[in-house]
């Protein structure tokens, strides 16, 4: 009888020990929760002169009728009234004088840099200064001192454009894609075909120049991915789409060149170029911008709808985390790492994303 009691007690002790050990062995730390914390808000107009800003810390903002520079720490460095054809980058801003047709460029400090008296409309892409010619049938690039780096006419009207630090890709109404190097020399000349009507509706080049993507054709529309092979590019993947766009289509690579985000009906398609897998994410309205950062799997997608715009935070490839509705169309959005800067009406605010 005593033997049985002892055995029972031993089992109970063993079970208790096992139970206690389980808590230590099987315990896992709790998953981190993503939080978005407001850091600061600054009014984007007021008594701030252009002087006093240093180029190193300046971040450009553009609120439509007003643009300028601010510091990531929340100091407004300059705020200038902007016309519809005025342009701004991190290094320069350009003010167009309709009467003379000239665009005057200034440093973020407000110091005049140079003027362009060439007909057409200047714009910045990847920090480079380009100009689209008066009939949308050519592109010129200018140095940061205003000299013409190169100038090219295209075979038809330009329907889309993208650039990185080394390349410029130009798509046309005639279904032709031209890729130009830094000096404007042709790197690739490609006409995808495969559709009843050839046209390029969207084009993008990855940061590392490894990939170029295009949405081309009408009846049927195709998404074509070109990959660098030697000196040129070859098709590495393509898919027929169930879309029937008759306008410019949103197409962009993530900053780490791993994902391709393309506009789809009612949302976006996100393709993981490493795994070769595609995902779909429904969005309210029409996708307008992607904000990604190298080495971070958090994406910010901006879409414009009738009732305002929507900012969607997602984990790559397409796991929605947060969504915010903003009361205006096309708000200013910028991102440095996990700090997001949002421009609303006359304010800029900084939001910090963190996992705690």
């Amino acid at each position: 009888m005593q033997e049985t009691e002892k055995k029972k007690r031993g089992w109970v002790v063993l079970l208790a020990c096992g139970f206690i050990l389980y808590f230590f062995i099987a315990a896992r730390p709790m998953g981190k929760e993503l939080s978005v914390i407001p850091a600061w808000t600054v009014r984007a107009q007021g008594a701030v002169g252009a002087s006093g800003s240093s180029q190193g810390e300046a971040r450009a903002f553009n609120l439509g009728d007003r643009f300028g520079y601010f510091s990531p720490q929340g100091r407004l460095l300059s705020s200038i009234r902007a016309g519809a054809e005025d342009v701004i980058s991190q290094d320069l801003y350009g003010s167009r004088d309709a009467a003379s047709g000239k665009t005057f460029f200034y440093l973020p400090t407000g110091e005049k840099a140079f003027e362009l008296s060439v007909a057409g409309r200047p714009f910045f892409s990847a920090g480079r200064l380009f100009l689209i010619k008066p009939d949308n049938n050519g592109i010129s690039e200018f140095s940061n001192s205003g000299g013409t780096a190169w100038s090219k006419d295209t075979s038809s009207l330009i329907t889309c454009f993208d650039a990185n630090e080394n390349l410029a890709v130009i798509g046309g109404l005639d279904g032709r894609l031209v890729v130009l190097g830094l000096d404007g020399s042709p790197v690739e000349d490609f006409s995808p075909g495969g559709s009843r009507i050839p046209i390029i509706l969207g084009c993008a080049v990855s940061e590392d120049s490894r990939y170029i993507a295009i949405v081309a054709g009408i009846d049927r529309q195709r998404l074509v991915l070109l990959e660098r092979k030697g000196e040129g590019y070859r098709i590495s993947w393509h898919a027929y789409l169930d879309t029937d766009f008759r306008r410019r289509v949103f197409l962009e690579f993530s900053a780490d060149s791993r994902y391709l985000i393309s506009e789809a009906v009612g949302g976006v398609s996100i393709r993981d170029l490493v795994k070769g897998q595609g995902s779909y994410l429904a969005l309210p309205g029409r996708v307008a911008a992607l904000h990604s950062a190298a080495g971070d799997d958090l994406f910010l997608l901006l879409s414009n709808a009738v009732d305002g715009s929507y900012l969607q935070l997602l984990r790559a490839p397409a796991i929605p985390l947060l969504q915010a509705q903003l009361p205006i169309q096309d708000p200013f959005i910028d991102r440095i790492g996990r700090s997001v800067f949002v421009g609303l009406a006359d304010k800029i605010l900084r939001l910090d994303m963190g996992e705690y």
Partner: protein
């Protein structure tokens, strides 16, 4: 009577075949012609003015591209809001510089005369609207002079020839100021154009054709019918063509071409004509030794 009807039918059929397109604006006036040099580029379309602002399809076609300024691309449009229609045989008509927000974005197919957009108001009040119309042949990848497809407009103003120069080595000489030259290869330069709507216009439009005859023999024949990109440059007049940097001298004068002029008494005739067959001809006599 029957013969007359048949003849009328053939006339109408021929005119429909030749001028297949309607004008994009009612009661149109040609404000800038195809190939007019503006700054450092050829104009690959025409500018049309009208009292009406309703822009209509020139023929039945399929909408293939609408630029409405609603996208968020950093690429601006120098043509403003525009719409492109795809027609038979790869022809694309482009209706540009439309009033923002007025371009229809629900149409997939348009019938002839369907309203597509509203033209921008033109400062200068009368006529009230102005737009740019471009015709592009996507099969041949070339811009086409729209006047070749549109009903001719009444035009009584003849082209203008302001000056003619013969250039040899680095010296260009006004042909009226010098009656004798030494034989050799000469480049012919001329300041000419079409006044368009305004007889007193300082800025001239491109004409439709220029011919140069030397002692009755044709040396130069240029037509503003097509423009195509070659080696990164929009060129006019033929396949190898001339880019604007070659053609335009910047001062309003243009390089027409080079040809050798032998010894003897020479008669040089410059004939400039517009699309309505109005012609301006100037004849110059000089001695070459």
């Amino acid at each position: 009577m029957k013969r007359a009807r048949i003849a009328l039918f053939f006339c109408l059929a021929c005119s429909c075949l030749t001028f297949a397109f309607d004008w994009p604006l009612d009661e149109p006036a040609l404000a800038a012609s195809f190939g007019t040099v503006s700054g450092s580029s050829f104009h690959p379309g025409i500018d049309v003015r009208s009292a009406s602002s309703q822009v209509q399809a020139v023929a039945q076609g399929e909408v293939i591209f609408v630029e409405d300024g609603k996208g968020s691309s950093p690429l601006p449009s120098s043509l403003g809001s525009y719409l492109a229609l795809y027609h038979d045989r790869g022809l694309i008509s482009v209706y540009a510089k439309m009033r923002k927000g007025s371009v229809v974005d629900y149409l997939k197919r348009a019938k002839k005369c369907d309203i597509l957009a509203l033209a921008e108001p033109f400062s200068g009040a009368n006529p009230a609207s102005r737009m740019e119309f471009i015709l592009f042949d996507s099969d041949k990848r070339q811009f086409v002079n729209p006047l070749l497809f549109l009903r001719p407009l009444p035009d009584k103003l003849s082209p203008v020839i302001r000056a003619v120069y013969l250039k040899r080595d680095a010296t260009a000489v006004n042909i009226l100021e010098n009656r004798s030259f030494r034989q050799g290869l000469f480049e012919l330069q001329a300041d000419f154009g079409d006044p368009g709507l305004d007889a007193g216009a300082r800025t001239l439009n491109a004409p439709f054709a220029v011919r140069v005859l030397l002692n009755g023999s044709e040396k130069i024949n240029l037509k503003w019918d097509i423009g195509a990109e070659r080696e990164g440059e929009l060129r006019f007049f033929s396949d190898s063509g001339m880019g604007v940097s070659t053609f335009s001298l910047g001062s309003g004068a243009f390089r027409l071409g080079s040809f050798p002029i032998p010894r003897g008494r020479m008669n040089l005739q410059l004939i400039v004509s517009d699309f309505s067959q109005n012609e301006k001809s100037m004849s110059y006599n000089f001695l070459v030794d």
